[in-house]
């Protein structure tokens, strides 16, 4: 993307003026009124191409409320601390992954914001993945929101990560064929129920009975493995 307003900022008042105009233009954008994204694009130019921390901070100030809305819209998340953590995670992802090459390729401000929104979505997906098996209190289910903070579920230290890899390898070693591997992946990694696996793979399994027999046999082999309990302990 080439921008006519891509000159290097000379002082902080110039930056302040850009921020003020960008906020104004974004507000007009949200109200579906005519707007001029030049000031916002110049902030992005300065932050992404020049790696200017002041411009980045300014972008965070301008766009944080929008990121917060994206996060809240994703998953009916009521807990402010969790939203804050996911917003921070979104900011880190954008700063880490949005390269000058992408900026140059972007066709419009909306293209850049789309990437930022995808960062918010990927932060939410990651949280959702790790949250899959975490217990949810009954009252939280009843009022339709989830109140766990990301710090309850995010940390996975290196030892645990290594043990998890070893455990998965151990499960694969105990699989007798490709169907066992498919079943193990669907059940343990993806969290499906045996009935779902059968419904989605009717041409691969002869019957639901075969699915249950295979699962039972796999678990029996796993239980007999002397390393299983130790790895499960480390992972828990």
């Amino acid at each position: 993307m080439t921008h006519s307003a891509a000159a290097v900022l000379r002082n902080s008042s110039e930056l302040d003026a850009l921020v003020a105009d960008c906020v104004k233009q974004m507000e007009r954008f949200r109200r579906r009124q005519a707007n001029d994204p030049t000031s916002c694009l110049q902030l992005f130019h300065q932050a992404i191409l020049q790696r200017d921390p002041a411009a980045w901070e300014a972008l965070v100030t301008v766009y944080q409320p929008q990121i917060r809305r994206w996060i809240q819209k994703q998953g009916n998340i009521a807990d402010a601390a969790l939203v804050n953590e996911l917003v921070q995670e979104t900011l880190i992802r954008f700063w880490r992954s949005y390269t000058p090459e992408l900026f140059v390729r972007a066709r419009s401000l909306a293209d850049i914001l789309r990437y930022w929104q995808d960062c918010a979505h990927s932060a939410y997906l990651e949280w959702q993945r790790r949250n899959r098996n975490a217990p949810v209190l009954l009252e939280e289910i009843e009022n339709g929101s989830v109140s766990q903070t990301a710090s309850d579920i995010l940390p996975h230290n290196l030892v645990q990560a290594e043990a998890r890899n070893r455990l998965w390898q151990l499960v694969l070693e105990q699989c007798r064929d490709e169907l066992d591997r498919l079943l193990a992946h669907r059940i343990f990694v993806e969290g499906q129920k045996p009935r779902e696996v059968f419904r989605e793979n009717p041409e691969r399994f002869e019957s639901i009975e075969e699915v249950y027999k295979r699962l039972r046999n796999l678990k029996d082999r796993l239980r007999r493995n002397p390393n299983l309990l130790e790895l499960l302990e480390i992972c828990s």
Partner: protein, 233 residues
């Protein structure tokens, strides 16, 4: 440990079915009476839950990697590895599809493309190639070749919550050429669904009833038809 009160009533695998609330009444009634089998089910449940907790998405690429794949930011080898995983893992396909579907509040303006000298190409199904372990998915990907172009189309279908999901990717084409590309499905020559092809060549068509379709892809001035695409069991 006490032994089962009546081993002839229940087969071993049926305890696994009971664990997943999928056992016949005969088994449920047996479990109500048999402490030994109940203890076995508790043991099975404990192992099942611990394995699921420990292995949740254990070999899946991080959501950030899917984001980078979606924006064509990965080195070719890593992109291929992610594609292979996507072909196998229904959960990651769902995550990826949700990334493709996350529209900003105002979509970028797309210039209407004037298509002149439209050329029609019929894609041809290639002989199936053996897939390595942990690939293959619930439906093996069907690979089509586009004559006169060095392009391939990889198609897989899976069961979604509201019907079938047909996902595909155009390979061997530069991302710039994909600007404005569209994919659609015809049934009895009527348009059933249409979607944009993203800049990595991915497209997802859903929800779909089972059936035979003609897939069309509109890429710049090239119009591709893939006949006899079977979706469903």
């Amino acid at each position: 440990m006490r032994s089962c009160i009546s081993p002839a009533e229940v087969e071993v695998w049926e305890l696994e079915a009971y664990l997943h609330s999928d056992a016949p009444t005969r088994v449920v009634e047996h479990l109500e009476r048999c402490p030994s089998c109940r203890a076995k089910v508790d043991e099975l449940r404990d192992l099942h839950q611990r394995l699921q907790r420990a292995l949740a998405r254990a070999d899946c690429p991080a959501a950030e990697t899917l984001l980078q794949r979606r924006w064509n930011q990965l080195p070719p080898a890593q992109a291929r590895s992610v594609d292979a995983h996507l072909a196998f893992c229904a959960a990651c396909r769902a995550d990826y599809a949700s990334l493709l579907g996350s529209e900003p509040e105002a979509a970028p303006q797309v210039l209407a493309m004037v298509r002149q000298e439209l050329s029609l190409l019929m894609a041809v199904l290639q002989p199936p190639t053996p897939l390595p372990a942990l690939r293959g998915a619930e439906t093996s990907p069907a690979i089509y070749r586009v004559p006169e172009k060095d392009w391939e189309i990889v198609l897989t279908h899976a069961t979604g919550t509201r019907g079938y999901v047909l996902s595909g990717q155009l390979l061997g084409i530069a991302s710039e050429e994909l600007t404005g590309a569209q994919a659609g499905l015809l049934a009895d020559d009527r348009l059933v669904l249409r979607t944009e092809v993203d800049r990595t060549g991915w497209f997802v068509l859903q929800p779909l009833p089972a059936g035979r379709y003609t897939l069309w892809l509109d890429v710049g001035t090239v119009h591709i038809r893939v006949p006899e695409v079977v979706v469903g069991p």
